[in-house]
């Protein structure tokens, strides 16, 4: 089991976060506080990476934690780890924001929103410098490094830019089928590298 599995798989840490969700369902605010301490940094970093806007990233993180707080009773470990649930919520909200920003820009004929590129080497080098997640981040970066560049760029565009399948294909100047195949092969390889098989 890789280091990444320590935050995403069935581990002590993920069990502890599941226990915090149970306590939050009983309206224990200290549990919310502890879950925030554990997850706020990677979630905020993700939201900031996608939106490139600190105020929006803060809104998204607050919104996600409030949803976890309000829906804590609905959580079951069978749905996956708390971290993956929270990260998925964060990514969805961040992408909704930048898509809404684009639509608004189209309507008022202002300039469109900027699409951010993939994770650069310099950015990756600064990733997860504290909070005890260096090892996990290192493992993810190593797994990403094992992907073919074209697989990596397709997956990064999908995750961080909010582009649709068709937009990714247009951006990379490849047929849609090719993009789908790259994403499939790349994500499966990442999963295997991170020992996250079902």
């Amino acid at each position: 089991m890789s280091n990444v599995a320590n935050i995403s798989g069935v581990t002590d840490q993920s069990r502890e976060q599941a226990d915090l969700m149970l306590a939050m369902a009983r309206r224990d605010k200290s549990a919310l506080s502890r879950l925030y301490d554990a997850l706020s940094r990677p979630l905020y970093s993700l939201a900031l990476k996608v939106t490139n806007d600190s105020a929006e990233a803060q809104d998204i993180v607050q919104d996600v934690f409030l949803q976890l707080w309000q829906k804590a009773a609905d959580y079951t470990p069978a749905r996956g780890s708390v971290f993956s649930w929270a990260a998925t919520l964060t990514q969805n909200r961040a992408i909704d924001r930048i898509r809404m920003r684009r639509r608004r820009a189209e309507i008022i004929t202002e300039s469109g929103s900027e699409i951010h590129g993939g994770v650069t080497g310099a950015e990756a080098a600064t990733a997860a410098e504290s909070l005890g997640m260096q090892e996990q981040a290192t493992a993810v970066r190593a797994a990403l490094g094992g992907l073919a560049p074209e697989q990596r760029s397709a997956i990064e565009l999908a995750f961080f830019s909010g582009l649709t399948q068709q937009e990714i294909a247009a951006r990379l100047n490849e047929p849609l089928g090719t993009i789908k195949a790259r994403i499939r092969r790349g994500l499966l390889k990442l999963r295997d590298s991170l020992s996250l098989r079902s």
Partner: protein, 275 residues
């Protein structure tokens, strides 16, 4: 058995790339396919790990305090019950009845219309005005015989009280991912230049935030401020509103999420919009 196509769809789903009918169809297939669901779960876990390769930035310390305050407010609202904004009932009875009539139609229509609403989500990337128009029109088409008779009966009662033909009744549609269940009806009286807004299922917001309603009048270059409000724990609110400028023609209503007390010009995300 997992096929290559399953793997492809599961990968796209894990990255949020499935949209519209393709997404609905895949989620339906997931419900009865344990092996496929397990594959999706493993790929969602994989994609979630991407959060760790974004450049790590510490959130501002104030954010935690804001979050805990908002959570406390939620608990207090749950125990305190409804916190609906008060308004003069008798004076606004016709407007309130009209809003209730429209909400009833929406609720009954939505029973059979949930799937189409799913397809009308933000990910369809259609223009804002089209979403609002299609949602309202679709819901009206789907209303049941019972709803129609209720509407006719209510309408007859309303006509006996006053002539409502001059009122503009608008259903506002969701524009943000976390407000897809939200319902809002704005009723505008052009004679009094006053409106009544009724909302349900709006997401909770922090203490330092307010929802703000805007009236789009073509006479002005930017939407006219109609005031701020905060829904109760169930996401409900009812309020009367006026523009901060004289309003001659109402082209649309919009609701945005702003800092507490509101802003003179919309800055935050528009969460609901209707023509």
């Amino acid at each position: 058995m997992i096929t290559e196509q399953h793997e492809e769809l599961a990968s796209l789903h894990a990255l949020g790339l499935l949209e519209g009918a393709e997404r609905v169809s895949f989620e339906r297939a997931l419900a009865g396919h344990a092996e496929l669901a397990a594959l999706v779960n493993s790929l969602v876990e994989t994609s979630a790990a991407f959060a760790l390769v974004a450049p790590q930035v510490e959130p501002p310390a104030a954010l935690k305090a804001r979050l805990l305050a908002a959570a406390s407010a939620t608990v207090q609202s749950e125990s305190a019950g409804s916190n609906v904004v008060s308004f003069p009932l008798f004076r606004w009875l016709p407007l309130a009845a009209a809003a209730a009539f429209a909400l009833t139609a929406l609720w009954l229509g939505s029973k059979n219309f949930a799937l189409q609403q799913e397809n009308l989500s933000l990910r369809t990337e259609k223009e804002l005005a089209d979403i609002a128009y299609q949602t309202a029109q679709g819901q009206l088409k789907e209303r049941s015989f019972v709803a129609e008779s209720m509407i006719n009966d209510l309408g007859r009662q309303l006509r006996e009280q006053s002539d409502l033909t001059h009122l503009k009744v608008t259903a506002l549609a969701s524009l943000a991912g976390n407000t897809q269940e939200a319902r809002a009806i704005a009723v505008w009286d052009p004679v009094r230049e006053t409106g009544l807004l009724t909302v349900e299922k709006l997401p909770a917001i922090a203490d330092n935030q307010d929802y703000q309603i805007w009236v789009v009048d073509p006479a002005y270059p930017i939407p006219v401020d109609g005031g701020v409000f905060k829904p109760d724990a169930a996401g409900k609110a009812v309020l009367t509103f006026k523009g901060d400028k004289p309003i001659k023609t109402v082209a649309a209503f919009a609701i945005s999420l702003e800092k507490k007390g509101g802003v003179p010009k919309a800055e935050g995300p528009i969460v609901l919009l209707g023509k």
